[in-house]
C-alpha cells in the first residue's frame, strides 16, 4: 500500500489508485474536466496537473498512479499558471455563446431563451402567480441584440416576456448574474452559419403584437422563431466554471475560428462540435455501454473531432447513452435538449 505526501500531508492509498484518488482522501480538491468517476481516465484536458517531486514538468493527477514515497504539490503558482494556460488554450478553440445575445443585452439579465422554450413547448404556469417584470417601459435592447435579425427580423421578445408573465411562467434572471460572469461569445457570424441556428425554428416572419399582446397561438409561433443561441450548460459548464475560478482570459490566444455547427438530429441531445474539448468521455461511455455504433475520434492533432462512425447520425450513434453522455460532457458540446 503506497504512502505518499500531498501538500505536505500524509496519505495511504490502495495499489492502483491515482494521485487524484489520494487527494480525494485528504479532501484536497484538484480541478478536473475530462475525468469522471467510473470511467477510465484519459488525461486529456490537463487541468488536474500537479507537481511530483523528482519528475520533470507537471503530471496529470487523474491518470498518474500514486507510488510509495511520492511527494506531491497540488496548488503552487507554477501549477495555477499551467492550469490557466490549459483553460486559455481550450478557450481559444471553443466556439459558442455562454449567454444568448438577448440575455447579455437585457438590463435585468432575464433568462429569455429559457422562457421562450417554455412558451414554444406550450407550458403554462400558475396564472395567479403572474410575475412582475421590468419589460413594459424597457426600450428592449434584447431585440436589437437578437441574432435572428441577421436572417429576417428579431423575435418579439418584449411581447413574449409580457405574455409569459401574464401566463404565470417564471420570468427571472438565471442563477448568478450571467452577464457579469465569465463568458465567451461567437461574435459576428460567418457566411452560412445562420443556417445552423435556424435549423428547427419557425422560419416565418416576425409577429407584431396587437394592443392586447400576443395570443397563445401567436406566442407559440413567435417563440419558435427563437434560435436558442444560449448555451444549455451555461450554469453546468466546467470550462466556464474553472475559467472563472482561475481568472482565465477567453481571448488570450486567438486561433483559426471553426465554423459553427449545431446538430439537432437526436431527439434528446444537441451536439455542438465547436464546444467540444476532445476529452473523450462520451466516446468511452458509449464504448463501455457497447453502443452498436457509438462515437469515435477521427483525425489527429489539432483537427481531432468526435463523430459517429461512417458519418451516421448522432441518433444512430447514441441509442442508449445520449443522456448519460450529455450529463458527463464537461461543456455544452453535448447537452440535453
Amino acid at each position: 500500500m503506497p504512502h505518499l505526501m500531498i501538500d505536505n500531508r500524509k496519505v495511504e492509498v490502495a495499489d492502483g489508485e491515482t494521485i487524484l484518488d489520494a487527494a480525494k482522501k485528504l479532501r484536497i480538491e484538484i480541478p478536473t474536466m475530462c475525468f469522471l468517476e467510473g470511467v477510465r481516465a484519459n488525461a486529456s484536458c490537463m487541468l488536474c496537473v500537479v507537481k511530483v517531486e523528482g519528475l520533470a514538468g507537471l503530471v496529470p493527477a487523474c491518470a498518474t498512479l500514486a507510488r510509495d514515497g511520492m511527494k506531491v504539490q497540488t496548488d503552487t503558482d507554477e501549477i495555477r499558471t499551467a492550469r490557466t494556460d490549459a483553460l486559455e488554450l481550450l478557450l481559444s478553440d471553443h466556439l459558442g455563446d455562454c449567454v444568448a445575445t438577448c440575455q447579455s443585452a437585457c438590463p435585468a439579465g432575464l433568462n429569455i431563451p429559457l422562457v421562450l422554450r417554455q412558451i414554444a413547448a406550450g407550458q403554462t404556469g400558475d396564472a395567479d402567480g403572474a410575475s412582475e417584470i421590468p419589460c413594459d417601459d424597457c426600450p428592449a435592447p434584447c431585440e436589437r441584440a437578437c441574432r435572428r435579425k441577421q436572417f429576417d427580423s428579431p423575435v418579439s421578445i418584449r411581447a413574449l416576456m409580457q405574455y409569459a408573465a401574464a401566463a404565470g411562467l417564471v420570468v427571472q434572471p438565471s442563477g448568478p448574474d450571467n452577464r457579469r460572469r465569465f463568458s465567451v461569445h461567437i461574435g459576428r457570424l460567418q457566411e452560412g452559419e445562420i443556417e445552423q441556428f435556424l435549423a428547427g425554428t419557425n422560419r416565418g416572419g416576425r409577429i407584431e403584437p396587437s394592443d392586447d399582446g400576443l395570443t397563445e397561438d401567436q406566442a407559440r409561433d413567435e417563440a419558435r422563431r427563437c434560435m436558442h443561441c444560449d448555451c444549455r450548460k451555461a450554469d453546468a459548464c466546467k470550462l466556464r466554471y474553472y475559467a472563472e475560478l482561475y481568472g482565465a482570459k477567453a481571448r488570450r490566444y486567438k486561433g483559426e475560428r471553426r465554423s459553427f455547427v449545431q446538430n439537432r438530429e437526436h431527439p434528446d441531445v444537441i451536439y455542438e462540435p465547436g464546444k467540444c474539448i476532445a476529452c473523450g468521455l462520451c466516446v468511452r461511455i458509449a464504448e463501455d455501454a457497447r453502443e452498436e455504433l457509438g462515437l469515435t475520434f477521427i483525425g489527429r492533432g489539432f483537427d481531432v473531432r468526435v463523430t459517429v462512425p461512417f458519418d451516421r447520425s448522432i441518433a444512430e450513434g447514441l441509442k442508449t447513452t445520449a443522456l448519460q453522455c450529455a450529463a458527463a460532457c464537461p461543456t455544452g458540446a453535448l447537452s440535453q435538449r
Partner: protein, 774 residues
C-alpha cells in the same frame, strides 16, 4: 462496390483474423488492394469481424498512411525531410502541383494519373531535394524541373524493359565485387548497376561474384562499387553508372572461356570508354579507400552498431555466423545467467539510442524483475523523424545482428514474444527482417520458446513514444498514456514489456562479444560507446556515420562531412530532429553526448544531424519542425493539441512579416507551458527547436518582426529583382511559371512583384547572375 470487391475483404479477414488487434494490417491490405480505403469495404470489415465501426474509423483516420479518397495511378512522393526542406522541397512540391494542375485542396490530378504526396524522409539526403515517382528517384530537383521529371517518368514507362541478371556459377570466383543495396542506394540507381555488373560478369566469364552488401554509410557517392581481390587493396568506384559495369569488370578480372578470345577487342572497348568524350571515363569515379576524402570520412568513425554493414550480404546468414554472428548469443545462453547478461549491459554504460538515453541495463532489469509469466520485447523501428534513416539502414543492412540483439535481450528479461515495429514506409527493411527471422527460426537460433514477428507501423511519428507504440500494436489509435505505470510493469496487453530502439539492440551483440569494458572505453563519462547519425544538409559529404560519443560537432562537420558546400559560412547544426535543437557554430566545440547536448538546448534524439549555413533562416527552421510536430500530434492533451498550433500560428505570422510586438514573449511562454505540461515526450520536446533558436538566433526573430528575413528565405519578406547585369536573354521570362516577367529581348527585364511566386526559377536559369533577392 460490386461483389468481387467484397470477396477480397472476406478472404482478407479469413486470412488475417477477426481480432480487433489486426485492424492496422487489415487496413494496410485494403489500401494496397484498392489504393485507398473505400467506405463500403470498411463497413464490410465491421460486419464480418469483431472490429467495431468506432475502432476502424478511429484508426483509419489516425495514421498518415491511410487514404480516404482514390489515389492516382502513380504516386509522386516529394521528400520534405530536413535536408530537402532547406534545399527547396516546398518549391518542388508546388512545381509538381502546378505542372499537373492540382488545386491546393487536392493531391491528385484530374485524370487520376498522379498523386502528389509529401513524405517525411526518403533517406537520400545527399540528393536533396529528392522525389520518387513510382519506383524511380529524381534528385536535385527544383520547381521548374518538376515538369521534366514527370515527362521523363512517362517516357520511361512507355519503353520500360526488364533486364534479367544472369547469376555467376558458384565456386569459380577469385574475387568479389561489392555493391550496397539498401533503399537509398537503390534509389540512386544501385539496382541497375548491380544488374549490369551481374550481366558483365556473366558475359565476360570473369571469375568474380557480385555481392550485395548493406549500407556503407557513404551515401554521398553511391552507387558505390568495391572490387576486392585476394592480396590486393580493395578498389572503390564512386558514382558508378550501369554502362560503366563492363569496364570495371574487365579492368580487374581476366575474361574466361570464349571471352578470352576476344579479350583484345574488349580491351579495345575499354580504351574507347576511357577516351570517349560522350562518356565520362570510368577512372574519373574511382576513389581509393585510403585517399584523403574517404579516410577522413571513415577515419574518426568507430563502427559498433554498424559493424558489418557495408561488408556483409544482409541476407546471408552463413556469412553473418562466420563473421562471429550469434557468438554473443551462444556466450549468453551457455556461459551467462540472465542476471549476468543484464549486469554486463549495465556495466557497459549503454543508454537508449532512441533519444532519451535511459540506461539500458536498468530498463532490462525492471522487466526482468516485473511479475508475470508472459513478457514481451519490442524493437522500436518506427523512425519517423524527417532527416533520420539510421534504423532503416541498420534493419536493411544487418538484420541478423538486430535479431541477435533482440534474442539476447529476450533471454535476459525472460520474454517469449518479440515484435519488430517497423514503419510500413520501409518495405525493404520489412522484407529483409521477415526473411531473416524465418532463416533464424529454421536454424533454431531463436531458442525453443521465443516467437518473433513484424508489425508494420502506419505512419505516425508519435508511435516512436513507447506507450503510443504499444497502443498501435494493440490495434488502436497511437495515443500515449501517462507513465507510471511504465511498460516494464504494464505494457503490451498489460504485460511487462521491454521497448528498445533498433540501434540499441544493434549494440548488444558487440558488447557481449567484446565485453562491457571495451564498449565503455569509448565515449565520455556518462555517454558510453558510439552513436549513429544521419549526416545531411549543407555538408560536402553526407551519409550515415557512427562516431564515438564525445566527438565534437566541429569534427563531424569539418572532418567527416568535409566542411560546408561552396565554402559558405557554417551557421548551425540541427541535432535530434523535431525534438532537438539548433546548436550555433560558435558552440561547435560541444562534445556529442546526452548531457552536453541537453546543456546547449538540443537533444540526442534518434540521430538526425543537419548542417545549416548562412543561407538558412533559423526562424524558418523552427517553423518547419513545429509544423511537423503539430501535424504529428496525436491530439490527446490540450498543451500539445492546441499549444503547438498556437505556437505555429505565431511562427507563421512572424515568417510572413505579420508578427506583433509581444509575439516573442507569447512564443516563449507557450514553449514553456507546452514543454512542461504535455502528456508525452513528443509534446514535451516539441518546443525545443523554437527554444533553441530563440536562445541563439533571437536577432533573426527580431529582424523578421521588423520585416526582414536576413537569410532571404521567407517568401513573404523577400522579393526578386533583376539588376543591371541583365543581358536581355529572355531565359527568365521563358521559364517563369507565374508569367511575372515580360519577355523583352536584348533589354533589361523586370519582375512583376505582384505576380511573382518567389520560386527562384529565374535566379537558377539566369546565365548572367543578374537576379538578386532583396
Amino acid at each position: 462496390m460490386n461483389q468481387a470487391d467484397l470477396t477480397f475483404v472476406d478472404g482478407l479477414i479469413e486470412r488475417i483474423g477477426q481480432n480487433p488487434d489486426a485492424v492496422i494490417p487489415i487496413l494496410q491490405a485494403i489500401q494496397e488492394h484498392y489504393r485507398y480505403l473505400p467506405r463500403e469495404v470498411l463497413e464490410r470489415v465491421c460486419e464480418i469481424s469483431e472490429i467495431t465501426p468506432a475502432r476502424i474509423e478511429g484508426v483509419a483516420t489516425f495514421y498518415t498512411q491511410f487514404r480516404h479518397r482514390p489515389a492516382g495511378e502513380h504516386t509522386i512522393r516529394v521528400c520534405v525531410g530536413t535536408a530537402c526542406h532547406v534545399q527547396g522541397a516546398g518549391a518542388v512540391h508546388d512545381g509538381f502541383c502546378r505542372h499537373l494542375d492540382i488545386p491546393p485542396d487536392d493531391d491528385t490530378d484530374a485524370a487520376g494519373v498522379f498523386t502528389v504526396e509529401k513524405v517525411a524522409c526518403l533517406g537520400c539526403c545527399s540528393l536533396a531535394p529528392v522525389v520518387q515517382i513510382g519506383d524511380v528517384t529524381y534528385g536535385h530537383l527544383s520547381g521548374d524541373t518538376a515538369a521534366d521529371a514527370v515527362r521523363d517518368f512517362l517516357n520511361l514507362q512507355s519503353r520500360r524493359v526488364h533486364r534479367k541478371a544472369r547469376p555467376v556459377e558458384p565456386g569459380a570466383e577469385v574475387g568479389e565485387i561489392r555493391i550496397s543495396l539498401d533503399t537509398c542506394c537503390i534509389a540512386r540507381g544501385c539496382g541497375a548497376v548491380y544488374e549490369a555488373l551481374c550481366e558483365a560478369v556473366a558475359r565476360s566469364g570473369a571469375r568474380a561474384s557480385v555481392k550485395r552488401v548493406g549500407c556503407t554509410g557513404m551515401s554521398y557517392i553511391t552507387p558505390l562499387v568495391e572490387v576486392v581481390l585476394p592480396g590486393l587493396p580493395p578498389s572503390l568506384y564512386a558514382g558508378v553508372k550501369p554502362e560503366d559495369a563492363e569496364a570495371i569488370v574487365l579492368r580487374h578480372f581476366r575474361p574466361g572461356g570464349i571471352m578470352r578470345k576476344i579479350k583484345t577487342s574488349a580491351s579495345h572497348i575499354l580504351e574507347n570508354i576511357l577516351t570517349d568524350d560522350a562518356w565520362e571515363p570510368v577512372t574519373r569515379y574511382s576513389t581509393d579507400v585510403r585517399e584523403a576524402i574517404i579516410s577522413e570520412f571513415t577515419g574518426p568513425q568507430k563502427r559498433i552498431a554498424t559493424e558489418q554493414a557495408g561488408s556483409a550480404d544482409p541476407a546471408d546468414l552463413d556469412e553473418y555466423i562466420s563473421g562471429g554472428g550469434f557468438e554473443a548469443l551462444r556466450k549468453c545462453t551457455d556461459e551467462l545467467s540472465p542476471e549476468q547478461v543484464i549486469d554486463e549491459i549495465t556495466r557497459s554504460g549503454l543508454r537508449g539510442r532512441g533519444g532519451a538515453g535511459f540506461v539500458t541495463g536498468l530498463k532490462w532489469l525492471h522487466v526482468r524483475q516485473a511479475h508475470g509469466e508472459k513478457k514481451y520485447i519490442i524493437c522500436n523501428g518506427d523512425e519517423g523523424d524527417p532527416g533520420a534513416f539510421m534504423d532503416r539502414l541498420l534493419l536493411e543492412s544487418q538484420p541478423y545482428r538486430i535479431i541477435e540483439g533482440v534474442v539476447i535481450a529476450a533471454y535476459a528479461v525472460g520474454a517469449d514474444e518479440g515484435i519488430f515495429y517497423i514503419r510500413a514506409e520501409y518495405p525493404l527493411a520489412i522484407k529483409r527482417m521477415t526473411d531473416a527471422i524465418e532463416q533464424c527460426r529454421q536454424r533454431n537460433l531463436l531458442g525453443p520458446k521465443l516467437r518473433l514477428r513484424i508489425v508494420p507501423g502506419a505512419g505516425a511519428f508519435v508511435c516512436g513514444e513507447e506507450t503510443a507504440l504499444i497502443a498501435s500494436i494493440e490495434g488502436r489509435r497511437g495515443m500515449p498514456r501517462p507513465r507510471p505505470p511504465y511498460p516494464a510493469q504494464s505494457g503490451l496487453n498489460g504485460k511487462p514489456t521491454l521497448v528498445n530502439n533498433t540501434e540499441t539492440f544493434s549494440m548488444v551483440p558487440w558488447i557481449i562479444r567484446n565485453g562491457a569494458g571495451a564498449f565503455s572505453d569509448t565515449g565520455t563519462d556518462l555517454s558510453k560507446g558510439t552513436k549513429v547519425f544521419a549526416l545531411a544538409g549543407r555538408v560536402v559529404r553526407g551519409g550515415l556515420v557512427e562516431v564515438p560519443m564525445g566527438i565534437t560537432i566541429h569534427e563531424i562537420v569539418e572532418q567527416i562531412g568535409g566542411g560546408i558546400i561552396d565554402s559558405k559560412a557554417f551557421k548551425a547544426v540541427q541535432i535530434g530532429g523535431p525534438s532537438g535543437g539548433c546548436i550555433p557554430a560558435s558552440l561547435a566545440d560541444t562534445p556529442i553526448d546526452y548531457e552536453s547536448l541537453v546543456g546547449v538546448g538540443a537533444f540526442m534524439g534518434s540521430g538526425g544531424l543537419v548542417v545549416l549555413d548562412e543561407t538558412d533562416c533559423m526562424v524558418d527552421i523552427a517553423r518547419y519542425f513545429l509544423a511537423f510536430t503539430q501535424d504529428q500530434s496525436c491530439g490527446k492533451c490540450t498543451f500539445c493539441r492546441i499549444g503547438t498550433r498556437q505556437m505555429l500560428d505565431i511562427l507563421n505570422r512572424i515568417c510572413s512579416g505579420e508578427g506583433r510586438g509581444d509575439d516573442l514573449e507569447r512564443l516563449e511562454h507557450l514553449a514553456g507551458a507546452v514543454g512542461k505540461s504535455s502528456l508525452c515526450g513528443l509534446g514535451k520536446s516539441a518546443p525545443n527547436p523554437v527554444i533553441s533558436t530563440l536562445r541563439y538566433f533571437r536577432d533573426e526573430y527580431e529582424a523578421h518582426l521588423a520585416g526582414v528575413c536576413p537569410a532571404g528565405v521567407c517568401k513573404d519578406l523577400i522579393k526578386y529583382v533583376i539588376t543591371d547585369d541583365c543581358i536581355g536573354c529572355t531565359l527568365c521570362a521563358q521559364h517563369c511559371p507565374a508569367d511575372a516577367i515580360e519577355m523583352k529581348p536584348h533589354e533589361k527585364h523586370e519582375i512583376d512583384v505582384e505576380k511573382c511566386i518567389r520560386c527562384g526559377t529565374c535566379m537558377r536559369v539566369c546565365p548572367a547572375d543578374a537576379i538578386k533577392v532583396e
